[in-house]
Symmetry: C2
Subunit: 347 residues, 2 copies
């Protein structure tokens, strides 16, 4: 349904490895003051003040993305976003990225140009410099490896390990939409297999499909927290699902947690899609993943600073470690949280 | 011939993604003063003084390595080395690495443990911290993506662009051995296919096979140059072959070059293997690649400081750009240098 309709196709062999890097990165002029040398030498050179935060992620075709419904421009954009999200989750501001790609020879140059258009869009919006990377051929499909760097003052950095009992558990935005967007896209893919002439009407699902195909990272939340003078005691981004991330915070902070089912923020379109797909919306929020929202804990004294702010929802509070991590259901029963986040080694 | 003879095989599914990272990295305690937080959060946190140098490389099974003769421990070691080499090529000292791996389910946990033993060996020898990475499943084979960081003072960094006409062109170590080691291993692989009981005698080739399977990065050269108070005007590491690297220096420095064939340093075992394989040793040195030696230019006034030092060979000098880049043969004819370095997109 979303086949690549490139008319012009240029073989990668025609360019060679160095020509390819030059070609794809020629429009990425560094704009960050901390970038002294970007692409084009054995290494990039940075002048980072304060503390450097660094994170890296693999994105592999057939494991992390499906090109039958993921346009390459969106893939480029999303690949950058998922990495920047890790930097913001440390309460830092992203400054640079390195992008490595490996592709089989089924991809013409024009496909990589589309991918890099999406990468360029993300670097512009989030004000990060593309400073390096590697290109290679692959035996099958497309592989993307991105490393993101950011800066923060030492005292600003929010680790997973800082949550204390009685801290409030807060989440930005709403949850479960990216997962439901994926369900819609997977269903349309099956329909397309049966009838390639069928034109899917994705209009009613535009919010959830966009959350899957073109997620955003919450740089705005990091900036807002700074403005509100709220320093999260612990923070993590929601890539694998709320439940899995809460358990990370609990484990590393040596605390327990009560999460209240009725507080979990859900968009109405997520609730509608869950009904249509006969899925439990709480389970979708807990285990869906790919929301790239920020999950953090704050000291109760900071509550007045965020109270009533539509960007934040208080969804629970931390407890002593011995109490464990629980979901308090709408029916007021307590059930233990389990990590049902996405497992990249499914059996 | 070098089949994996693990008796014990643990499925990766049994551990899950987070368990796998924890398991593989549990013995990598940070030792660098600049590492404030290593593996275990959304990002690592570094306190890098001076300038940060950063570089990243993909290593892909079937493209960059062949597990039929590359033991996993060696692969882990070499993967780190090729990345550190880029940091040293900037005249910086490597401090940290991030290692991402993706593997198909044909690899048991014990195979990854072997890989990480090699990675650990390299991090220990070169005094770098493993501070992060990602693990994933792959559709085919093994993929490794490493990002290396290093530190240097701004005035110490050697770019590719700093060479001037009349600078001397200098190389560390000797060239062509890694490529000839690969020829021996490829030949033995073919022999093994025909007769699996044949025991190869690699003893006469131990130097060149080791240069292929367990190369070293020239941290010692960076330290030695500092001790000798020689600041290279330009520097690059030899990963793709001498010829290709010289052309990079010429292009980015806007200079030409005369390279003298009779000055190219060759180990006697390389010359012997070239005779056996009926290959021209000069061509092997020019195009072989994977030597991970440092190629640099120095101002002529610094020549007395390196003169007679067995670590260095002056192999030519830079010229005005208009003169082009040439090989001056033993017969005293000048032939233009062409990049015949390894192309990762062969036609």
């Amino acid at each position: 349904m979303l086949a690549n309709k490139n008319d012009k196709k240029t073989d990668l062999e025609a360019l060679g490895e160095f020509g390819l890097i030059d070609h794809l990165t020629k429009n990425f002029a560094p704009s960050q003051a901390s970038t002294e040398k970007g692409v084009g030498d054995d290494g990039a050179v940075l002048h980072l003040k304060n503390r450097t935060v660094i994170s890296t992620d693999f994105l592999i075709e057939g494991v992390h993305f499906d090109l039958s419904y993921m346009p390459l421009k969106h893939l480029g954009y999303k690949s950058v976003i998922v990495n920047l999200s890790d930097i913001y989750a440390m309460n830092a501001i992203a400054t640079q990225i390195l992008v490595s790609i490996a592709v089989s020879n089924r991809f013409p140059l024009e496909a990589l140009e589309e991918l890099y258009q999406g990468i360029a869009l993300a670097t512009k919006k989030y004000e990060v410099d593309l400073i390096g990377g590697d290109t290679s051929s692959s035996k099958t499909g497309m592989l993307i490896s991105i490393t993101a760097l950011g800066e923060a003052k030492a005292e600003e950095i929010a680790y997973r390990a800082g949550a204390r009992a009685n801290d409030l558990l807060v989440v930005s935005g709403d949850l479960g939409a990216a997962y439901m967007g994926l369900q819609v896209l997977e269903r349309e893919k099956e329909v397309f297999k049966v009838n390639p002439n069928n034109q899917p009407d994705l209009e009613p699902y535009s919010y959830i499909v966009e959350r899957q195909l073109k997620p955003e990272a919450r740089k705005d939340i990091v900036e807002l927290l700074k403005k509100l003078e709220v320093k999260p005691t612990a923070m993590i981004d929601i890539s694998d699902g709320l439940s899995s991330e809460i358990l990370h915070l609990c484990k590393q902070s040596h605390v327990g947690c009560n999460l209240f089912e009725d507080k979990i923020p859900l968009d109405p379109t997520v609730i509608a899609a869950c009904e249509e797909f006969k899925l439990d919306s709480t389970l979708v929020a807990l285990s869906g993943g790919e929301d790239y929202e920020l999950l953090f804990t704050i000291n109760q004294k900071d509550f007045p600073k965020i109270k009533g702010n539509p960007n934040f929802t208080v969804i629970g509070h931390m407890t002593e470690a011995g109490e464990g991590a629980h979901l308090v259901t709408r029916g007021n029963s307590k059930i233990p949280l389990t990590a049902q986040g996405w497992n990249s080694f499914p059996s």
